[in-house]
């Protein structure tokens, strides 16, 4: 289980150094797969049936459906594959490393959970969430905002699955559907912004301030 957690952290690094939209989306898909695997292993070890369904849902929705949709939108937009980095990849790695340290320090000092496994899981989930936020702030294209949101959501799921072992089933289903609808809407928005402004550089939207 620790291995899978490490892989998830590695994927955050991959997401941060990607310069193109498709590579970001692929990294996200891979991370979601690892998350599904984590859920599956939890399900096998605790034997709870709900977690099987959760693992399946994570895989189907976040590793297959959503990346597919995002790639389709990117193809339609023809805005170029360039992600629009505000911070170059090396510096981004350094930032994410710092965020990981912060997450780990927070987990240890504040949570005081029993067992190093749980602490590590919490630290990882926090760093994933912070990476998602980082993506939203320092990537200029609108798709990055969407992916950032999904990564934050991944982090939340990780915390839930690794720490609590089981989120209430309805809550998970509800969250899944929320995420699905959100991505749909965000996708539509990105498409519309592109039609109107012929680009999805969100930073240029600051001319709309008033």
């Amino acid at each position: 289980m620790n291995m899978i957690t490490v892989l998830i952290v590695v994927m955050t690094f991959f997401m941060v150094i990607s310069k193109r939209i498709t590579s970001l989306v692929n990294a996200f898909a891979l991370q979601s797969t690892f998350l599904a695997a984590l859920a599956l292993s939890e399900a096998v070890s605790t034997g709870s049936g709900g977690l099987y369904t959760v693992a399946a849902l994570i895989f189907i929705i976040k590793a297959l459906l959503i990346p597919h949709m995002l790639k389709r939108i990117t193809a339609k937009i023809k805005a170029g594959e360039n992600l629009g980095l505000a911070v170059n990849p090396m510096l981004s790695i350094a930032c994410v490393a710092a965020l990981d340290y912060l997450g780990w320090a927070f987990a240890v000092k504040v949570m005081r959970l029993p067992g190093p496994a749980e602490t590590a899981a919490l630290a990882v989930s926090l760093s994933v969430m912070l990476t998602g936020l980082f993506l939203m702030v320092f990537r200029l294209k609108a798709i990055a905002q969407v992916v950032g949101l999904l990564v934050i959501e991944n982090g939340i799921f990780l915390a839930a699955v690794a720490l609590c072992g089981n989120m209430p089933f309805f809550v998970e289903i509800a969250i899944f559907f929320d995420v699905f609808v959100c991505v749909l809407i965000l996708g539509m928005f990105v498409y519309r912004i592109n039609t109107l402004f012929t680009h999805i550089d969100v930073d240029k939207l600051n001319t709309l301030k008033g």
Partner: protein, 615 residues
């Protein structure tokens, strides 16, 4: 977290039932009226929407008065406000609707915020949202908390009721809504605020301090005078009626406030009398105000006009509407033997009895002052309705649109006739009505923990005798009899002595000038000019003139505009608005427009929280 499972407790005591009756009465009559109003006006889709919204409105109001749980109260209160907002802006083709709706929704939400704050404070003390639990907790609450809760409740419910200075939305929202909605809003919705105030102050908190009653009385008197003075200045018929709602809420609150004072001074029978006067006026106002709004709607429907200065002569073209409006005008001017007279008389009797029985000289003098204020507003209201009825219906039409007016269809006439008949019946059968209302108010007054002796203020079906130590009685039926006898004697005299007289129709005397037309008639602005000058210290009228000269001696055109200064709007609201906008503009520097910057704000906050939470 036990408030997450609210069990809807139904509260059907006499007080709730009274308000439920008022709601159902006015709503059903307005619905009958609405059937005729929308028949050829709205498309079928719009009619269905109007019907749904109207029903939702009525049901939410009914739910507000029958719930025993403060959270459910708040939920339905909010639903009621939202549905009425949609009804106000229902005819969205006019730009005025949007403005009116905006002012209404903002102010009603400010009021709801205060009510919610009061409920939260009560919940903290009581641990539950149930009214009965709050009542038990109120017995041991510190007085400072109770005072704060009372102030919040008064501001919150006062905004919805239209108490001055929180009345700004009323003259915007009520005229703009379609008439069958205005009648329910003005007749019922603002009374629900009175319900809330009395329910939470009498039942839950218990009247604790003398200054509560004095505060209510002061703002009630202020509302009376301000409402009627602004109404006198209006020449938009529905806006005039809206300002009169402000005035009548003041009259109702005079009764309620006096009752609060009497409860604190431990005068139970007087408290019941004062509260009965207030509730009687509440019922009467619901009836005659909706009648007036329905008539105004009938006028609007056939002439498309709301401005009185363009109307005239409608009594010949719309005789039934004019007759029903006359009933409403007589009732609201407190003219015997109709119902408005009975409730104003009762309020005056309550003040008189208070002046007799209160121990302190200051209170006695205050009772006299409030009685004088009530008498003054009664006189001013009569003047205003002479103006409203006279300019709208009498003499000759002042514009072309009015000449094409035709009478309202049957369902509208039926609704108005029913209400007009009700104004007469509630006056003539004052005995049983007062009997029922005094039981309701005895229940309300008794819920403060006071022992209320059995006090029946009526003797017989036609007479009421509220006086507690003397025989003063009022019998509107008997008065009607006297009036009819005396008038009949006059008619007999004319018949006997002047049987052979001829009655000829001649043009109006114009000092020898026979081409009189509508321009020589009296106007509404002219009618209210003496009042404008007498109250100019409050109204601060100013004029704007523009003269275009063709030559030194010859004026080509002269433009004259007369304005009143609305001091509450200018010095309270616009000032507050300016301050708020200034603060908002200074915050604008934080918002550079970049989404990344905003998310960065969130990011930084999260980081800061994480770093500093460990310390």
């Amino acid at each position: 977290m036990n408030f997450l499972k609210p069990h809807y407790s139904l509260l059907l005591d006499p007080f709730s039932l009274f308000f439920l009756c008022v709601i159902l009465l006015i709503s059903s009559v307005s619905a009958v009226y609405a059937y005729g109003y929308v028949k050829d006006e709205y498309s079928p889709k719009k009619t269905v929407l109007a019907g749904l919204l109207f029903t939702a409105f009525m049901l939410s109001m009914a739910a507000v008065v029958t719930t025993g749980n403060a959270l459910v109260f708040l939920v339905f209160w909010e639903i009621m406000s939202l549905v009425s907002y949609f009804l106000v802006v229902f005819e969205t083709e006019q730009k005025r609707s949007v403005n009116a709706g905006a002012i209404y929704i903002i102010m009603t939400h400010i009021g709801t915020a205060f009510i919610a704050a009061a409920f939260v404070l009560l919940y903290k003390q009581a641990g539950s949202f149930d009214l009965v639990a709050m009542k038990t907790a109120a017995l041991t609450m510190p007085p400072a908390a109770k005072n704060l809760i009372f102030v919040f409740l008064f501001i919150g419910f006062g905004t919805k009721a239209g108490v001055v200075p929180l009345h700004l939305w009323l003259p915007y929202a009520h005229p703009q809504a379609p008439s069958f909605v205005s009648s329910v809003m003005s007749g019922v919705m603002i009374k629900i605020a009175i319900y809330g105030l009395v329910r939470f102050v009498f039942f839950v908190l218990g009247v604790n301090a003398l200054w509560w009653g004095n505060l209510v009385l002061f703002f009630a008197a202020l509302s009376c005078l301000v409402g009627v003075i602004y109404a006198l200045m209006e020449h938009d018929l529905k806006k005039l009626l809206a300002y009169h709602s402000v005035e009548n809420i003041g009259i109702i609150l005079l009764g309620v406030g006096a009752s609060m004072v009497f409860i604190k001074l431990n005068l139970p029978v007087l408290a019941v009398l004062a509260l009965s006067a207030g509730l009687y006026h509440l019922l009467n106002h619901a009836v005659f105000k909706s009648l007036l709004f329905l008539c105004a709607g009938s006028v609007y429907r056939s002439t498309r006009l709301r401005d009185m200065e363009k109307m005239g002569g409608l009594i010949k073209l719309m005789p039934w509407t004019a007759a029903f409006f006359l009933f409403g005008a007589l009732a609201i001017s407190a003219i015997p033997p109709l119902n408005g007279f009975v409730s104003e008389w009762l309020t005056l009797q309550a003040f008189f009895a208070g002046a007799m029985q209160c121990p302190a000289v200051g209170t006695k003098a205050a009772m006299g002052v409030y009685a004088a204020v009530l008498a003054l507003t009664g006189g001013l209201a009569a003047a205003c309705f002479v103006k409203a009825f006279g300019i709208t219906f009498l003499a000759i039409p002042r514009s072309e649109d009015v000449k094409k007016a035709r009478e309202a269809p049957f369902s509208m006439k039926a609704a108005m006739a029913f209400l007009a008949l009700l104004t007469l019946s509630l006056g003539v059968f004052a005995g049983p009505v007062l009997g029922v209302i005094s039981k309701v108010s005895a229940f309300a007054a008794g819920s403060c923990g006071m022992l209320v002796p059995r006090a029946d203020f009526s003797s017989g079906v036609y007479t009421i005798t509220p006086s507690l130590s003397g025989p003063a009685a009022l019998s509107p039926a008997f008065l009607l009899l006297l009036l009819v006898t005396a008038a009949g004697a006059g008619a007999a005299l004319v018949f006997v002595l002047a049987r052979r007289r001829k009655v000829t129709a001649v043009p109006t005397w114009g000092c020898g000038y026979y081409e009189l037309d509508a321009r020589t008639e009296y106007t509404s602005t002219a009618f209210s000019k003496p009042f404008r000058l007498a109250f100019s210290f409050f109204l601060m009228p100013y004029r704007r003139t523009e003269k275009i000269n063709e030559s030194h001696y010859h004026i080509k055109s002269f433009r004259y505009e007369l304005y009143n200064t609305y001091i509450f709007k200018r010095y309270l609201y616009q000032f507050g608005l300016k301050m708020t906008l200034r603060a908002a503009r200074s915050l604008k520097r934080l918002q550079a427009g970049s989404i990344h910057l905003y998310i960065a704000y969130i990011f930084l906050t999260v980081l800061a929280l994480m770093i500093f939470s460990g310390m």
